[in-house]
């Protein structure tokens, strides 16, 4: 008799649990979130192709489908960390096979050498080069992502990738990078006024680093 009770108790519990589960499965269905969009918004959008995909969005799609996170040198470790955070995966160091993290650069066309072939215009993924056939081209510096894809197609090698110039209003308080300025006439001033006790040697600039 007792086994009947046991089985029917289990069956009853299973029935109730099943009902709850069924309800929950319908009521709390999770809409698939546009994860590709989120990944894409983290990527640096240089469209440089160093990851092996033609652009950032294709790489975002590839990541969503399980590709490694560490193939984006322009984004660097910060991007990898953010992606790892978003996707709950392990953050790996940047895959050196795809290149290394570099300082920000911008393309500059040496305009007197440009022959107006338009090849760089076609190569630019963000349409940041202006010009027309047989006309000199120029780069819109603010739109340039520094992907360097225009360098290779140029038949006359007139495109340089130059580091972005620091501007006071975008300076990042790197006190230790301020160059030492030698002011020799002042050293003399100090020396004469301190009765020669002050050596004229150039003191190494000391800095407080944050």
């Amino acid at each position: 008799m007792s086994w009947i009770i046991g089985i029917s108790a289990l069956a009853l519990m299973a029935l109730i649990a099943g009902l709850i589960l069924g309800f929950a499965a319908i009521r709390f269905r999770v809409e698939s979130d546009p994860i590709v969009e989120q990944i894409d918004s983290i990527l640096p959008q240089t469209q440089c192709g160093q990851c092996g995909y033609p652009g950032c969005r294709p790489y975002a799609e590839a990541i969503a489908n399980g590709d490694e996170l560490n193939k984006c040198p322009p984004g660097g470790q910060a991007t990898i960390d953010k992606l790892a955070d978003l996707l709950g995966r392990e953050a790996k160091p940047l895959d050196a096979a795809h290149g290394e993290e570099d300082i920000k650069k911008v393309a500059i066309i040496r305009e007197d050498e440009c022959i107006g072939c338009t090849k760089c215009i076609q190569a630019c993924p963000v349409d940041a080069i202006l010009g027309a056939t047989k006309q000199m081209h120029t780069v819109i510096a603010d739109e340039c992502t520094g992907c360097d894809l225009c360098v290779e197609p140029c038949p006359v090698d007139c495109i340089d990738m130059v580091p972005v110039e620091p501007k006071p209003e975008r300076w990042k308080w790197q006190l230790e990078q301020i160059p030492i300025v030698e002011m020799n006439h002042l050293a003399e001033l100090g020396q004469t006024q301190a009765n020669g006790s002050n050596e004229a040697e150039t003191t190494k600039q000391q800095q407080v680093n944050g």
Binding site: R57, D127, P155, D157
Partner: protein, 658 residues
């Protein structure tokens, strides 16, 4: 909501704050001096918060005192003026008066010691013209906030509507600085005139003049001047004496002390009906309107024990710091620091050639025993002293951990942008941690990230737009091909209909050939003519250039071939390696020869059409100039955009003290 302050209403307090040694004397004992002009003035084009204007003078020009050197650019910046009469010797990059030590475009003006003035343009009655015109005048006069951030005064006034109280900030809470103190003692009447003008411009209901209680002479001078001014010219002016505490001169802190209200986060004082101006700004406003002379000089405190004669001086904008220091008997020691601003918020400069700008209120040259440099940074012991002292009620210690971990999201959550960088946290820290430096770096990084993010967004949009365009073009091409094919088919069908006797499609061509022969011929001829027409100008127009182009292409090709050859050589399996390399070398040599030949020919060709090339050159120069101008305009516009984003940051930095 309305703010009603009377002379006897209570004063509030802000949390935290410290009372460092003031050390205002001996610099405040001497009257404001006037030194002879420096041998060279360096006037940077950008001296205020915002974009630089456009140059309107050239090297070699003779300029008069007060003559504008730039005209405001697209974003309503401020012009800069010649601080005295003289000759412009150069316009080049020169070290800026900025903590970064970076350089910027600067006009080098050699004074002729004549001080020949540019015509003054005073405004006799500001009620006679509209408020907009008065503000425009202030802009033309280059008036910026002289307290610290250098925000254009005209824009600040224009942005303020429904002002209950105009606060005139004479606090000057930072140690050492006495520029405003001396100005108030000596020119109280003119400052009050500035208050009157500002009140009329903003239609503020009342004016609150705030001075810290450690400046009794200045308080006396201002009180006397207020008593002498008839109450009809300035309505409801009150003098408030504030207890001495750093940083009560900060805009937000002073508002809290006077009104008990807080400026809402991400907001402006105008949001709670308050406009604040520095005393020196009020003076400059009075000068610009009554005298009609632009902002050409300011009071600079020269202090510190490394100076023999500390004091204050009227320094023409652009005077090198070194010159002022020398005039005050500068005695540099081994690890000399030269600080622009006070000891709490000022920055050190590496190069003494930097000029005095509109925001330079103090040059401090302390000895090492006077202000001991910080020791090595030690571990944070969570003592909480920084939190007790923070005037913005932040959690400096938490910010420090997050800044060290570069956790920018957490930093934003802890309101790092509301940090006014007053330096109190680092001042009280027993572990000598340069906290403010951490925050500045983190803030700069956050700002940079925001800019980068925006740039990335634009890049993404442009990339997607391009993809779309390429897609569309491809489709259009296909469509065109399809149409053409259809047209051909239709034509064939028509022809087939025309020649119903033809038995099969295979026979269509030869048979149709006859029928449409003439038409086809005509079309071919047309195409040929067109091609010829296209080719003609090319070939005829520039044989020389095309040769050069050819040579350039060949050079590049040779270079590429050499590059390609190099890895091949490295490959051990390639027995052809050496031969390939030889080939490449031969090719290179050939290309070189060809290039040389070309060059020779072009050289020999050059002298003949000299006139021609000259005019060409001129044309090219003109074109290049036009291009450069266009680019500059573009860049400036873009910069203006980023600037406007930075405005929030600038506003908050406005909370700097005098």
């Amino acid at each position: 909501m309305a703010i009603e302050i009377t002379a006897t209403s209570r004063l509030w307090n802000f949390p935290g704050g410290v009372q460092p040694d003031e050390r205002k004397s001996p610099a405040n004992l001497q009257p404001i001096q006037r030194f002879p002009l420096a041998p060279m003035l360096y006037i940077p084009l950008r001296q205020h918060a915002g974009a630089a204007g456009e140059l309107c003078v050239a090297v070699g020009d003779y300029v008069l005192k007060g003559q504008p050197l730039t005209i405001p650019g697209v974003d309503n910046g401020l012009p800069v003026h010649a601080s005295t009469s003289g000759t412009i010797k150069a316009i080049t990059e020169h070290p800026l008066n900025h903590p970064s030590g970076l350089s910027g475009l600067t006009v080098h003006l050699q004074p002729d010691d004549q001080d020949a003035p540019y015509p003054h343009q005073p405004i006799a009655d500001i009620h006679a013209i509209s408020q907009r015109e008065v503000l425009q005048h202030l802009q033309q006069m280059g008036i910026a906030g002289l307290g610290g951030a250098g925000f254009p005064t005209a824009r600040k006034v224009a942005g303020a509507r429904n002002i209950d109280a105009l606060i005139i900030n004479g606090i000057e809470c930072e140690p050492y600085i006495v520029a405003d103190d001396r100005l108030m003692r000596e020119h109280a009447a003119k400052i009050l005139r500035g208050c009157e003008l500002l009140q009329q411009l903003t239609s503020a209901k009342s004016v609150i003049f705030a001075i810290e209680d450690n400046k009794p002479e200045a308080i006396n001078a201002v009180a006397t001047a207020i008593a002498e001014t008839s109450s009809t010219t300035i309505a409801n002016i009150i003098l408030r004496v504030i207890p001495t505490k750093y940083p009560s001169g900060g805009e937000k802190q002073l508002i809290q002390i006077l009104t008990g209200k807080q400026v809402p986060a991400n907001g402006l004082p105008a949001d709670i009906g308050i406009l604040m101006q520095n005393v020196a700004t009020a003076y400059a406003v009075a000068h610009a309107i009554d005298v009609g002379e632009p902002l050409l000089e300011r009071v600079v405190t020269l202090t510190g024990e490394a100076l023999h004669h500390p004091g204050t001086a009227w320094a023409p904008l652009g005077t090198p710091v070194e010159y002022l220091l020398q005039q005050s008997g500068f005695q540099p020691s081994k690890h000399q620091r030269v600080i622009i601003g006070g000891p709490m918020m000022g920055y050190t400069i590496a190069n003494l050639q930097v000029p005095v700008t509109k925001t330079t209120n103090c040059i401090l040259a302390p000895t090492a025993s006077e202000l001991t440099p910080a020791d090595a940074e030690m571990a944070c012991i969570r003592c909480g002293a920084c939190e007790q002292a923070c005037p913005a009620s932040l959690l400096p210690q938490q910010l420090y951990w997050h800044a060290k971990a570069q956790d920018y999201d957490a930093l934003k959550q802890h309101h790092i942008v509301d940090c006014i960088e007053c330096g109190i946290c680092a001042y009280v820290c027993p572990s000598q941690i340069p906290l403010v430096q951490y925050y500045r770096q983190a803030k700069a990084e956050i700002r940079e990230q925001a800019i980068e993010h925006q740039k990335a967004e634009i890049a993404r949009q442009r990339f997607e737009a391009r993809q779309l365009r390429l897609e569309r073009e491809k489709e259009e091409r296909l469509e065109k091909h399809r149409r053409a094919a259809e047209a051909r088919k239709a034509a064939q069908a028509a022809r087939a209909a025309e020649a119903p006797t033809s038995p099969s499609a295979a026979d269509t061509k030869p048979s149709a050939g006859k029928g449409t022969n003439a038409a086809v011929q005509a079309a071919l001829a047309r195409a040929k003519a067109k091609k010829a027409a296209q080719e003609q100008p090319d070939s005829s127009a520039s044989i020389g250039p095309s040769a050069a182009v050819q040579a350039a292409i060949e050079r590049a090709k040779a270079k590429k071939a050499a590059q390609a050859a190099a890895p091949e050589q490295a490959e051990p399996v390639a027995d052809k390696g050496p031969s390939a390399a030889v080939q490449a070398a031969i090719e290179r040599a050939k290309a070189k020869k060809a290039a040389q030949a070309n060059a020779e020919s072009s050289q020999s060709a050059e002298p003949a059409p000299e006139n021609n090339t000259q005019s060409d050159k001129q044309d090219a120069i003109a074109a290049a100039v036009a291009r450069a101008k266009a680019r500059k305009a573009e860049r400036e516009q873009a910069k203006g955009n980023t600037e406007s984003q930075n405005n929030a940051a600038e506003n908050e930095r406005k909370g700097k003290q005098n």
